[in-house]
């Protein structure tokens, strides 16, 4: 019957027209007839085959094929074999190391289907779905494990990163073994990510099989797989020799990966090798591999090397930025007493580090900023003094010192520390003065994209009032605006005169700060209105003033008793404007005010 079935399948593909006189069918027929003696179903099949292969019209032949096939399918459906041979003792369950205990199957189909859809379809919102599924613990359901693995290979990197960094590591060490079991060492990005998960999660201490797999991937894998696998080997001391060998590989990424693994390994030999690498031509590569992974011992060694270079330069003579950069990168996130000692000494005895002078101005600045930043993190009064000492030779470092001082001292102490008790700023050279202005500007207007003036309360609590006088003395309008507070008699006269300059030449930001200040509740209504109108009138309407919509809006909302005056002043202003659309804009404001006035009058008559 199976033979007949394959013949019929062939005819379905080739077409029943070819069944006429088909010798293969004709050969089957007698056999079927013979069996038909015992089982009637064979007889019927034989008749059907005869009709199919014998003389007939094409349609009849097609119908015959359909009928034989129908009968045969019915018969075959009752013959299906279910037996499985050789069922031995091969365990169904994955090896013990790759089990993921505690997975349930209690989540609803809807939730899982939504996640599946997100990972199999394309379109927007996929990341959100996956992330919220992760947050809701959907990946604790066994059935979402294949989806988690799929997410690892998602073309949208935010999804695959989420899978590699959060979702899969959450399964625990078992996932490493599972991922390694399914690792294709010639694979691409997805396989590489699997190894990144393994690196993150680690493998069980007794899991020889997984270790062998990583070693195999490190030796025989594609380039990217090798790199990803080598890093994973740092956790295993027995790999020292191989890692040392790889650290001398011809390929840069392999060496880098080996350096990272050696850093994790942290054996004597590996420390020696890393020291060699970072003092040699491979330093930039080694530095990147080391960053963030350094052990305290290794950090101390590098700090020592660092100090040595700062004091005496390199063996081949003077110091260059390239000699320092790798060490700065490697030590960037390190906090170590050796570094603290070094930077302290550097601030107290700069003369002991002559080779720093060999750097150019910019390089030296960048290096000292690192030092100041390290000290600033210490957050002690002693560290502040050290930063200030550094700032004497490199004024820009006040950018670190002043915010640090503000964290440690009261506002008046901060003021007096830099400006002296009588405001003569005696301690500061003119270079330092200009840095103070810079620092204050940054502090008073935080935010990078659209900086804002600080909230009034913060200004009044956080800054000594004498800064305002100093800013007026400096005739620095932006600082005056940023420090403005009630109780200074010089403020309003200064602003009344400065507003013309601000209105005419101020940047969009400055106009905004000015308006912020007006709205901060500093001034009585008359002053506020007058300052505002002067600002509007001062704008270069015929030039190119940035239109600030907030101004127009504020104009439309002037208090009722000032409407007449506003209309008058605006009309006077309009006369002097020659650009028609600007005229129109202001005219619209005037019209709006008129409409408001008549509406108000209407209200009054109604009452």
């Amino acid at each position: 019957m199976e033979q007949l079935q394959s013949e019929l399948r062939r005819l379905y593909i080739a077409g029943s027209d070819l069944a006429a006189d088909d010798y293969r069918l004709e050969r089957l027929e007698p056999e079927l007839r013979e069996r038909g003696e015992r089982a009637p179903v064979f007889k019927r099949l034989a008749e059907g085959v005869a009709a199919l292969a014998g003389p007939a019209r094409p349609e009849e032949r097609a119908a015959a094929l359909q009928d034989v096939s129908l009968l045969l399918n019915s018969v075959l459906s009752t013959q299906g074999n279910t037996e499985v041979g050789n069922v031995g003792e091969t365990p169904v369950s994955a090896r013990a190391e790759s089990r993921l205990p505690g997975l349930a199957t209690d989540r609803s189909s809807r939730e899982l289907a939504e996640l599946r859809q997100a990972l199999y379809a394309s379109g927007s919102g996929r990341y959100e779905t996956v992330r919220s599924a992760y947050k809701n613990g959907l990946f604790r359901d066994l059935r979402s494990l294949p989806l988690a693995l799929r997410a690892l290979g998602d073309p949208y990197s935010e999804i695959s990163d989420l899978a590699a960094e959060r979702i899969l590591p959450d399964y625990g060490p078992g996932i490493s073994a599972l991922l390694l079991d399914g690792l294709d060492i010639q694979g691409g990005r997805e396989e590489e990510r699997k190894l990144q998960v393994v690196q993150r999660v680690g493998i069980g201490p007794e899991d020889r099989i997984s270790l062998e797999k990583i070693i195999r991937a490190a030796e025989k894998g594609s380039d990217k797989i090798r790199v990803a696998a080598i890093v994973c080997l740092g956790a295993d001391p027995s790999q020292e020799e191989k890692l040392l060998e790889w650290s001398r590989d011809k390929k840069k990424p392999v060496r880098k990966s080996a350096y990272a693994a050696l850093t994790v390994l942290d054996s004597e030999a590996s420390r020696e090798r890393l020291y060699e690498a970072i003092s040699g031509p491979d330093a930039p590569l080694a530095a990147e591999a080391l960053a963030g992974l350094l052990s305290p011992g290794m950090a101390e060694t590098l700090a020592w090397l660092f100090e040595e270079r700062l004091r005496n330069g390199t063996e081949n003579g003077s110091l260059s930025a390239e000699d320092l950069q790798p060490l700065l990168i490697a030590l960037e996130k390190v906090r170590h007493p050796a570094l603290e000692r070094l930077y302290t000494d550097l601030a107290l005895n700069p003369a002991a580090y002559p080779s720093i002078q060999a750097l150019n101005e910019r390089e030296r600045g960048s290096f000292l900023r690192n030092a100041a930043y390290y000290l600033r993190q210490l957050g002690t009064f002693e560290a502040l003094e050290l930063v200030e000492r550094l700032a004497f030779t490199h004024p820009l470092l006040l950018q670190q010192a002043i915010p640090m001082a503000r964290g440690l001292l009261t506002p008046s102490e901060v003021y007096e520390r830099y400006m002296g008790t009588n405001g003569d700023s005696s301690r500061l050279s003119s270079a330092l003065q200009s840095v103070v202005i810079l620092v204050l500007r940054n502090e008073l207007y935080p935010g990078t994209v659209t900086p804002r003036r600080l909230p009034q309360a913060e200004i009044e609590v956080g800054w000594d009032p004498r800064w305002l006088d100093w800013a007026i003395d400096q005739d620095h309008a932006q600082l005056v605006i940023g420090l403005a507070r009630p109780g200074n008699d010089r403020l309003v006269p200064y602003l009344e005169q400065a507003v013309r300059r601000i209105g005419r030449a101020g940047s969009r930001d400055e106009i905004r700060y000015f308006l912020d200040m007006l709205e901060a509740g500093l001034f009585d209504e008359d002053t506020r209105y007058e300052l505002f109108m002067r600002l509007v009138e001062a704008r270069n309407w015929n030039g190119d003033p940035a239109m600030v919509y907030r101004e127009l809006d504020l104009l439309k909302r002037v208090p009722a008793e000032r409407m007449d005056e506003t209309i008058r002043r605006l009309e006077a202003l309009i006369e002097g404007i020659s650009i028609s659309y600007k005229k129109k804009t202001l005219q619209e404001v005037v019209d709006a005010l008129r409409a408001r006035r008549s509406a108000d009058e209407g209200d009054r008559t109604n009452e």
């Binding site: 399918n73 019915s74 459906s77 299906g80």
Partner: protein
């Protein structure tokens, strides 16, 4: 006192998004008024919306198995997120103030009561029964004639395809088949329409070789359908009074959608039934152009595994309730049974959930067939009818689940007989890859709910595990 659990509310929600939005309303404190009636069977309240006035919503549990949600919001989903939120708020234990039933709801309740009363009077014969639908004989005759004609045309098309051979099929043939399918639909043969479209899909798929096997199977299926359909329609043509055949699936094949009243009339109703859902999944049936939510349920106290099916046309997805996994026992007053084989479709309107107990799980284990041979016999008996469901589901006892060296999985029953476990073509996901990942003890002395499929190309009958049951654990592999 009204008992509401979050999972019950989830199951009432039309879709996952509505459930989530409902929960969010509670989280964001959007309910400004929460009330419960004195009898405790009506929740009502007000919820802030984006507009000026609040949405007034209520959920009426006066018939607890069929709660009625009402809301003044314009949503077309029932229950809407506000009604769902109201229930979640109650389940979360928020304070609901007692209040009298609002007038509009009281009057609606009255009307509903009246309707029920009339209905029961009609049933008991106190009132004259509602006029039976008059069958327009001429129209019916015309319809049957049209169906017969369409069957003839379908046969012609199929035969010409068989003559030419599947090897010659190209994109144009597929297009013709799809167009023809559309015509079948307009000739009242929606069942045939779906199956012809399925054939077109099989022929259009990338992997031609497996496509051929299933396509030739589909062609013989169409042959069986044409034959059976034609003789059934002819007998109907001769006797227009003939009632629809409630024993076989032919009516459904022709495209008939059973009305509950028809099933009731045919005596296909079981009363006071308790169902335990063992598996649930949703798949996209491209031939039907519908999502199909399928559930397999064990009727507690028997060994019958029923099937619930909900079709959601792609076009109407937004407005239809999306069924979901159900983790409680459904207590059902009237269970309507469709004609069919081992896992005939069932439907019910309204149910009361209750927690699954150990006794229920024991009952499930007790209902499993201890012998592969017995189960397979029943399965084969069904498969020999070409128009029967090709993928029957059965609950089987396993002494263990094993694996051969080449990676084939097998279920071994207490007598040592084996059944190959594989992934069937008709299910949307594979489940055998999950077997190595479940806790090893679940694979010994367990019960397996499995879907069978006969593979024409290999002559093997394989089964895909859908759910494992052991002790008090029900592990669902499919979703």
């Amino acid at each position: 006192m009204l008992q509401l659990t979050a999972s019950h509310i989830d199951s009432l929600a039309p879709n996952a998004a509505a459930a989530k939005n409902g929960r969010d309303l509670v989280k964001k404190n959007k309910f400004v008024k929460l009330n419960v009636s004195e009898e405790g069977n009506l929740l009502f309240g007000e919820c802030l919306g984006s507009g000026k006035s609040n949405y007034v919503c209520s959920v009426d549990f006066v018939t607890p198995e069929n709660p009625v949600a009402r809301c003044s919001c314009p949503s077309r989903q029932f229950p809407c997120k506000h009604a769902l939120g109201l229930m979640y708020a109650y389940a979360d234990g928020l304070t609901f103030e007692q209040a009298t039933v609002p007038e509009d709801i009281a009057s609606k309740r009255e009307k509903a009561e009246k309707r029920e009363e009339n209905k029961s009077k009609r049933e008991s014969g106190e009132l004259p029964p509602a006029k039976p639908k008059k069958v327009n004989k001429a129209a019916l005759k015309k319809k049957i004639a049209q169906q017969l004609e369409a069957l003839d045309e379908l046969e012609k098309l199929v035969l010409s395809l068989v003559r030419g051979g599947l090897g010659t099929v190209d994109a144009r043939t597929v297009k013709t088949l799809n167009e023809h399918a559309k015509r079948l639909g307009s000739s009242y043969l929606t069942g045939a329409e779906n199956e012809l479209r399925r054939l077109a899909l099989l022929l259009g798929q990338e992997d031609r070789e497996t496509g051929y096997t299933y396509a030739s199977e589909q062609l013989t299926l169409l042959n069986a359908f044409i034959k059976k359909g034609r003789s059934y329609l002819r007998s109907k043509e001769e006797d227009p009074e003939l009632k629809p055949d409630t024993e076989s699936t032919i009516e459904e094949w022709l495209g008939h959608a059973w009305q509950l009243a028809e099933l009731k009339e045919a005596g296909r109703v079981s009363e006071n039934v308790q169902l335990l859902q063992l598996a649930f999944y949703c798949y996209q049936d491209e031939a039907r152009k519908e999502f199909v939510d399928t559930g397999f349920w064990l009727e507690l106290g028997s060994d019958r595994v029923h099937r619930t099916v909900q079709y959601r046309p792609f076009k109407a997805v937004k407005y239809m309730k999306e069924e979901d996994s159900f983790f409680s026992v459904a207590q059902i007053g009237e269970l309507y049974r469709y004609p069919g084989g081992l896992n005939a479709r069932v439907r019910f309107e309204g149910m009361l959930p209750r927690e699954v107990t150990d006794a229920d799980r024991e009952a499930a284990i007790g209902a499993a067939s201890a012998s592969i041979a017995d189960a397979v016999k029943a399965v084969k008996n069904q498969l020999k009818d070409p128009l029967a469901d090709r993928a029957p589901v059965a609950l089987l006892k396993a002494s263990r689940i094993a694996r051969t060296e080449d990676g084939t999985y097998a279920l071994i029953d207490p007598s040592g007989a084996t059944l190959e476990l594989g992934d069937v073509y008709r299910l949307p996901q594979r489940t055998t890859p999950l077997l190595p990942l479940v806790a090893p003890e679940l694979l010994e002395d367990c019960c397996v709910l499995a879907m069978f499929e006969h593979r024409m190309d290999t002559g093997r009958l394989v089964a895909q595990p859908l759910t494992l049951i052991r002790g008090n654990e029900i592990t669902r592999l499919l979703y």
